[in-house]
Symmetry: C2
Subunit: 202 residues, 2 copies
């Protein structure tokens, strides 16, 4: 049974937890004190030299970092990451969008506000980040006007990856009122079989 | 024949160009004036609502954004992105590492210095970004001490993705003297069959 090293409040850590719950894959959860510096300690760096959670460790010693790489690996050839080459390309496009154009502005603002308590002190920096965050939401809204899920007609790991930090964007002060398609999609994701709320730990 | 919309000096645009040259896949190159604002114009946004290059457009009207999603799609089932599930997971781990932990600190500093001419005006911001950039190089150096290529013994799209902005990191003021394994790996990548220097356009 693999061990998922993670932090309960982290959307990145929630992604593989939610997926494994939905696929019925048993796993152990190991809480890591990220804010307290545990990911910079030698024992953790031996597991992931990049010093980040989540980290998935298998019983045979193999380890895998990067939440979205875990989603691809764990969902491989299931309906959540099907074998069709073009369908996979669409899903991967959204996974890279999430890490480059969404997470750095939406998850990061939430971290500054909720974990570091910098909501007022960093108001200018937060306002700048929110311009980019809203641009990411606009891209999602535009896609969800055309299809019920991000990569088309079916629920996939693209939806898991984007749900993780979209559903809790309000923690950082984002309002989603202007994105009715995103609001409807959040509820659609929550109705999927096996859905569990964050943190999704066993 | 697909059209690759890109900017000649961009490492992200170079990635799919280099891969297609190495796989012998013919393509057209369409230069896009990113600094002049062309990616924010309606005609381009109709192709990619996220307003970024590269963008790969096929003759049948399909489009694909995100350089690393292109690498996966184009190299699917070739030796550069083999079918083995665990091997793919390793490669994907590096692709997400590149977009989250490497590109935002290494490509971005190069952009600030080379394209925006902010090397002196943004010295503090650049120094902060370089701490993260050097952390990314240290992770790569640590892997390359163990294996000749990032995802193991064979050249893969992980190497293409990381080569793109590592080989030109000096444009932003980075020095790679402390990373002998990275320096050797850069030369190893350049010796691969079909290698073409940036921009890699036909």
């Amino acid at each position: 049974m693999p061990t998922l090293y993670g932090m309960s409040g982290s959307g990145n850590c929630y992604k593989p937890a939610l997926l494994m719950q939905q696929l019925g894959l048993p796993f152990r959860w190991q809480e890591v004190d990220v804010v307290g510096g545990a990911t910079r300690e030698a024992a953790f760096l031996a597991l992931n030299p990049n010093g980040k959670v989540p980290l998935l460790a298998f019983d045979d010693g193999r380890t895998l970092a990067e939440s979205n790489a875990m989603l691809c690996y764990l969902a491989d050839d299931t309906p959540l990451f099907p074998a069709d080459r073009w369908q996979r390309a669409q899903i991967l496009q959204w996974l890279f969008f999430e890490q480059y154009s969404h997470e750095p502005y939406i998850a990061t603002v939430r971290y500054w506000v909720r974990y570091l308590g910098k909501g007022e002190a960093w108001a200018d920096k937060i306002r700048d980040a929110m311009v980019r965050g809203h641009a990411a939401f606009a891209v999602m809204e535009s896609q969800l006007r055309k299809t019920p899920f991000l990569a088309g007609t079916a629920y996939s790991i693209a939806d898991i990856a984007l749900y993780a930090y979209t559903h809790c964007a309000g923690d950082g002060g984002y309002r989603l009122d202007d994105y009715p398609q995103i609001e409807a999609w959040l509820r659609r994701v929550e109705r999927q079989p096996g859905f569990v709320a964050m943190p999704g730990t066993p």
